[in-house]
Structure formats: C-alpha cells, structure tokens
Amino acid sequence: MKLTKRLFTSSLGALAVAALVSAPACAQSVDALREAKASEIVDTAPFVKEGPYRVGVSAGYLSNSWVIFALQQLRWEASKHDVEEIIVTDAAFNPAKQISDIEDLLRQDIDLLIYWPVDDASVEDVLARAIADGVPTVQAGGGFTASDSTVANAYISQWKLGEMVARQLVKDMGGEGKVVAMLPIAGTVAAVEQLAALETVLADHPGIELAAVEYGDWNRAKAKQITENLLQRFPRIDGVFSPAGQMSIGMAEAFDEAGRLSEVTFSPGDEFNGWLKWVAQHGQGGAVTFPTKAGSVALQVGLDILQGNEVKRGLAVASEYIAPTDIGDYADMDAPDDWWATDLPAEFLPQQ
C-alpha cells in the first residue's frame, strides 16, 4: 500500500491534522466534525447535463497497486452507465503536472472530473476553474476534503479504520499485554489518525500498554528491520497494531525469524493480498478493509451530480472487518502479494 494511503489521505485539511496531533479525543471530535460537514447536501443544479458523459480522471500517481484497482473499479462502474469515454492522466507525484493535467482535461470538454491529489492546496485553483466551467469535481478514495473547490468526496476514514483495527486487537488480546504500533509515514493523516484512534481505544483498556510507536513508511522491508530492533528491545511483545497489511507481513517475518511468532497477536491488516495469504496460513489477524471500491463510489457520486440527484458533500466508503476464518473468501493464494481482494469481473482485473 505504501504511498497510496499517505497521498490519498493527505486531502484532509491542515487544521484537522493539527487538532489530531494534539489529542486523541480531539481527533475523535474532528472525525465527528468531518461527518457533520460530509452530510451537507450539495447544490447539483449548476452541473446537470444529459449523457453520454465524458469523464476525466486526474490521478496523482498510478504507480501503485491500490490505485490501479481503484481505477479499474471506476472503469467497471462506468461500463454500467452512460459514459462514453474515460480520460486518465497521471501526475506521477508532481503537483505542477497535476495542475497541467487538469487543465488539459478541461480543454477536452470533460463533463466530470474525478481526482486524487498529489497535494490538496496546489490543485485548489484549477479545481475552482473546473467548477466555474460547470465541471463538478469529485475527490476519490482518500480523506475528506472540505474545500469549496471539491464538490463531493468518496472518502475513507482513517480514524474509523484505526479504531476498528484497535478494537479488534484489544479483543483478540483479551485486554492485556504489551503492544507495539507500526504506522505509515510520520506526519501523514493516515499515521496521525490511526495513532489517535489506537490511543483512544487503549484509554479504555488500561491493561494494555503501548510500548512503542514506529513508522514503517508502508515499506515491508523497513517494517521488518524496525521490528527486528523492537524484538531486541522488548523481551516480550504481546500484540502488534499494524493496519497496513504490507507492513504487517514484514513484521510477521521478523517475529517468525526470531522464533517469537507464537507470543504475539497481530491486529487486522488491510486487504493487501500478501497479508491475506499470511492470515489464511496462520489463522490470526484478519483484515479491516481499505476498499478499492472507492473508485466506483466516486464515479457514482459524480454521475449523481450530473443527473441532479441529491448528493452529500462526503460519502464515506466504509471499512469492513474480515475475520481470519472468512479470509479464504478474499485471499488469492495464486496471485502476487501486491494484489488486492476484489470483486472486479475478470475483464476488468489488472494484468497479473
């Protein structure tokens, strides 16, 4: 997953991040505020058009398996509607290029713009121009963007995801023991919200000690290296909080190589296939999804705007818990690790 979540979720406002850093309770209230803002009804009247529609997708980057799956979800959804063309651009992590990409898309007379940003602030002006041209803008898959330049969001709450993962871990540990947390890149909204959610949950369970918080950058090798050091530091580790499956596998390998896998309880990861395969083989951990169907939800929201239907400013794509006993329905043991559990039909699956 690595950079995907970082950049997808960086679309939360700086204020929210600052508040989240200050205290877990504050993070919870920010989540509540976000939900309140997300429930606002959008004025779709300026954007109503007849089909067929031409959809522009401005990707902040495509070099990532989660993004590829989300994009394929979007294409699949488009195939069910009156969409004549989808034009995709790839900014390759370059904020300036993303502005040019969106300008190019607008010149191609798109009816709807779906985007995920490299940087929220950098695209705000060009998104405002899109709206002025009558093109609705929908942010796909990341955190909630409250800006007026974004008409609607199909977002995934890292707070909710973190809370679900934490509660399941606490339950699986029986409310006792020493936990280490492996988070994404420090300072990203994903890392801040997941940690705040963990601390909030642990506040209700004094029997669990948060012994260390580390940042593995969504990098399996780095997570493994850090875990090797954690194993050196702590003679006993009872639980691992790691919502990102990519890093969970690296951690599990470190525990296994140290001969200490049996002492630890793993939290759910996401539906990264390498992690799902590990869960299937070891019967613990499970998954809390970071759904790739955010791509299809974003398109549905966009089409609702174009058709003048009632649309909320934010539509949360809910994470779901998958128990280890049910993981067999999601893990593809023959697929690569860098693959995602999906309901995509064969003709829309990414190449393997």
């Binding site: 070099s63 799956f69 918080v213 050196q232 697929a335 690569p336 190449q351």
Partner: protein
Amino acid sequence: MSALAPNRIARLRLDRWAIALVLVAIYLVGLVLSPSAFGNPVYLLNTVRQVTPVGIAAIGVTMVMIIGGVDLSVGAVISMTVVLSAALMDGAASNMPLAIAVACCAGILMGAINGALIAFSRVSPFILTLGTGIALIGLTQMFTGGTARGAVAPGFREVFNARLGGTLPVLALFLLGLTAVGLVIEKRTLLGRHLFLLGSNAQAARLAGLPVRGITIAAYTLSGLFAALAGLALLARSGVSSTQAGQGMEFQVLAAVVLGGTTFEGGRGGIIGTVIGVLVLGLAFNLVNVMGLPYHAQLVVMGAIIIAASALYGQLGGAGN
C-alpha cells in the same frame, strides 16, 4: 622528500581507515547504550543482512564514481529486477535460474546503455542516469500495468534468508562474496587501475591512450549488474515484488558511497570504504531505533550521527595534510 614521506603515509592511512574508526566509534556507543543488542553476534550479523541490498548496489556505484561519474538509475534497476525476476519465477522453483539470469542480463543491459550514452555523448552522467532511471520506472510500470506480477519461487527466500550455524546469514555472505569480487576488480585487474586513472585525470587518460569509452561502459555495466544483484537480494530479504521496491534507494547508496570516501570528483575512494559506509548507516539506524527514541528524535540523532561521522572522517582524513 624524506621529510614529507611520513606525513604522506600518515595521510593515506588515515584517509583509508577514517571511516572504519567512525564505524568502531558508533559500534562502541551502541555497545554502551544497548549491550544486549550490540554485544550479540546474531544481532550484528543481522544488521549486515539488513544492509545487503544497499551494500551490493553501492559496490557498483563506487566503480562509477571512481571514474567521476554517478549512477542515479540504480533504484530503478533494483525495482525492475525485483519485478522481472518475480514475474519470471512465477512461483516455480524450476524457473529460478532463468529468472536470475534474465534479471542480471537486464541490469547489465541497462548499465551498458548508460555507459554507452555517457561515453559517446556529452550529456552529464547525473542528468543521463536520472533520465534513464525515470524511463526505466515507466517501462517497469508498463510491463506490470501498475501492480506486481509473478511470485517468488519457493526456496529462493528460504535459501537466502537462512543462517549458517544459526548465526551467519546467507545474505550477509552474499554481500561479503560480492565485496570480494568488487575488490578483485578494483585491486587486481587492469580495469580497476584504469578506473582510478580515468577518474584522477580524464584528459591524461585519453592522451595516454587508455580506452576511455570502454572503461566508462565497463564501469556503468558493472553498476547495472550490481544493481540487479541488489534487486535479487532485496527480493530475497523482503519478498517485495513491487514496482517501487527500489524507490529512493539510490540516495541511500550515494550517501554510503560518499561517506565511505569516494568523491564525486572521482579518482579516489574504494569499495572497502563504501561497504564500511553502508555499515555505518545501518548501525546508526539500528542504534537510534533500538534505543527506543521517539521517531522524531530518531531522525535528529540519525542526522547528527551522519554529520558527525562525515565531519570526523573529514578531520581524520585531512589530518595528515
């Protein structure tokens, strides 16, 4: 002459061993602060295993930097090798030899292309290898469609991740073996001598009739090969079959090479210094990590260690001047 000779010898020796003293200093600090880790051979050898991918790539880049070049495409070559070899293995042990051979050939090809373009054009190595690296990232993405392809063959990771006698990691031996190969090239071959001659004075090398273009192509080809081997080591270490597996690794490699005493100007440095530089970075990371410092404090201390190591190295290296 006789009065200068002892100073000169002292300078050469300090130049050569300053980075080793830095490594020892960091190790001793680690031993004091975390004796259970730094006094444990298993832990120390595991540190060598951790740095193996960076270390192998750094050996190749050292040869390029000795001639005054630079190779920023190593991260992209590592990513390509990881994906290509996993795709060719496709989860079958019988495919392993082919996958390894093709991955190495691909690395050699990329290195040769870099070398040829640099040797036959006036483009700066910095820009050229940056460009080929970017292009290679694109090609890798096109090959995979954005997701990883294939699966690591059974046995591949198990062999490389094994520990001989329960202590000595095979991956560390792999690094040791490739370091020996690099040293033989550097110290015992005509190519090795030519690398230093070209890096010291390119004009003089041309006038002396050295095959400058051939040496340049050879250096970059070796860098490509070592980057491919680093990719295989990374695949073995982490099992990551990701199009971004080597992303950013070129900067770790450059940091280690420069820390090890090989300069961007060329003509000086060497593989021993580079490998020690890799170990310095690895030990420094583990030191701040195993001490249990909060993440942001880890960054501060890690940065301070690198600066201090570099300053100490500069002081010791220049002491004889």
